[in-house]
Symmetry: C2
Subunit: 385 residues, 2 copies
């Protein structure tokens, strides 16, 4: 185990968005020198890192050139050039999560196949190289309505996912590689964050429960602990740990799960990085997800994943009908409530459903936290004006 606290070394982060920004709080706490690469010259990480470079994360040469200047390389977004990561690994740079792990995750078809190959429970699915193949399968009735369509690449925050109920729903789908998944009825959408370091130490966070906005398909509340039985929680954490082990994942892995009507746990998808479902941990956990990610990729001992109190996260998204300079209506009102902390991402312009920040509500009692969360959600409005 390298002693990162006593030797001069540099951590590189691909992507300089909000997740990277929150990661940088932790690198500052541990006095780690950081380089950040992001396509935008106004990336949130531009201040707080030691060296900022503007460049395309999908460009092989850009990523290789950036990566050669650092000792350990990580990312806050999956959309990065994997061939570049592999080149860097071959040249001795420590890349975590590895190019191999990311190859198994970046493409959702490959990811689903990986679960099937490793006996990890997931909904039945079929892979299609393009929309034409999908249409043929529908005509031949190899795929039946309803099903869940997912683009194999580029999807996030509800984009690239659609529930297909009729032939008409197929028409607007883009001409991309995709999968069709069985629509499995579920009781709860859950998530478990797993941390794993190169030495193989694994820790899981408590199960969180996710509530989605019915229209925007974005997470609206993340509730920790999930209001489920201990038995289901234990099963969910075990499945998540199995996924992390199968990937030989290093760093943080957010495992999104469904609790079926029969209380089975099946894997929906994963994100190989700190995740929206773990933001609650900044205020509620003994070790927040960003510190944990840094501990994991530096092969430091993993921190305690228990919660100090119940935590609920509310995403701050732009209100419908509002586009323009952002105004956080009633933010003072919610800040006067016990245990309420807003995180403002600093985007100057709002538009409907745009993620503008999040609010964490912490309380000893999860039911009380949920009450306050609802008042927070009813009070604050992300509007223009």
């Amino acid at each position: 185990m390298a002693n990162y606290f006593s030797s001069k070394f540099t951590l590189g982060i691909l992507g300089g968005g909000q997740l990277g920004k929150m990661m940088l709080y932790e690198t500052r706490k541990f006095d780690i020198t950081t380089h950040v690469l992001d396509p935008s010259n106004e990336a949130p990480c531009k201040i707080s890192c030691d060296v900022f470079e503007q460049g395309d994360l999908m460009d092989y040469d850009t990523v290789v050139s950036f990566g050669k200047k650092v000792d350990v390389l990580t990312f806050e977004i999956e959309g990065v050039n994997i061939d570049a990561l592999e080149t860097l690994e071959n040249e001795g740079i420590k890349v975590f999560p590895s190019s191999k792990t990311l190859r198994n995750i970046q493409n959702k078809g490959v990811q689903k196949q990986f679960y099937a190959d490793h006996s990890i429970p997931t909904s039945p699915f079929t892979r299609f190289a393009d929309k034409f193949e999908l249409t043929e399968a529908i005509v031949r009735k190899d795929v039946s309505f309803p099903f869940v369509w997912k683009s194999c690449t580029g999807g996030y925050d509800g984009k690239g996912v659609a529930v297909i109920r009729t032939a008409e729903d197929v028409i607007p789908l883009p001409e991309v590689e995709c999968i069709a998944e069985d629509l499995v009825p579920f009781k709860n959408e859950l998530a478990v964050i797993v941390a794993r370091n190169p030495s193989g130490e694994v820790k899981t966070y408590p199960v969180v429960e996710m509530e989605f906005h019915p229209e925007a398909n974005q997470v609206e509340y993340v509730i920790c602990p999930a209001r489920i039985t201990n038995e289901v929680a234990t099963k969910a954490r075990a499945v998540a740990a199995k996924v992390s082990e199968a990937f030989k994942h290093v760093g943080l892995l957010a495992v999104e799960l469904f609790q079926t009507e029969d209380d089975d746990i099946i894997v929906n998808e994963v994100a190989p990085r700190p995740h929206n479902s773990g933001h609650y941990s900044i205020e509620a956990s003994y070790t927040n997800q960003f510190e944990q990610h840094i501990r994991a990729i530096l092969d430091l001992p993993l921190g305690k994943t228990d919660s100090k109190a119940a935590g609920i996260m509310v995403n701050l998204t732009g209100a419908e009908g509002h586009t323009g300079n952002v105004h956080y209506e009633n933010i003072e009102k919610i800040m006067a409530m016990d245990g309420v902390t807003p995180h403002i991402y600093g985007k100057k312009q709002t538009r409907p459903f745009r993620k503008m920040g999040h609010v964490t509500i912490v309380n000893e009692d999860v039911a009380k936290a949920r009450e306050i969360a609802e008042i927070v959600k009813e009070s604050i409005n992300v509007i223009s004006g």
Copy 2:
């Protein structure tokens, strides 16, 4: 109350050290634009703020010129030019804490007189314009041994304070304005952090208990909650709130207190800013002291001051006999313990008793936290090599 979240405004911070750095995490969280002034071009705040300026905090013109570019001005160190603050206030800049408050605190003789004038309990004292006056008073037996000598300006971390037991102890004292305080026997050294905003809202944090290193006169453990009776804790918080009200203080005020043998609470001294005795709050409190300071000076509602769990802070100071490039021996060992988080300040060189960082230990049970804290202290060594 201005809506800082919706309008473009700039916060200025005088001093770019560790306290400023930890304050900047919170300004980033709230997306506040920051300017920082510090004499060192290698100040920890140089990255993380929007604009960094190098300059002398005691120079009138430098501070006025810096302050004119911001809307709200605060400081992380008391050693700043107060006349400049007053000029800025007269020109409409919001300066918190105010120049008036700082004038009553910066000079320890004035501070003690302020307590006497406002019926705030403090140890009996005499003020001296210089060392000659002090010596005369000793000769005339107006001051008797033992007493506590304090320099009126420039003291911190045990510097500028000495217990004087004999005439010989007087010889090495510097030729400065000073006070002589009665040496009051006490059971405990306590501290209470008070937050107050311009609207007059006041909140006190739980009482913390401080243990000092016997030689270096630096805080070794800060324990929250203090292991005292509820009655004494209530009294301590009331005295601290009274001090804040008397100063009409805006921002954070750390009030250092003695619990006497008779369970009286007397004020030792104050610091008008986030303080070492509040570092535990980053991990243990619902609202950490840095976020609270930002809330207070922006006249936002103050956050909940309760703790989510017991917190103990151990200062990481350079080991005796070690000067040179710093090495944090056994840091991985302490990071493997439950609820242990190191904060590394990033000073490249260690020397005996130099403050190099701190470690927070968080646990549901304060006695268990204290056990772990002792193991942490015995394990980690800040050495050279």
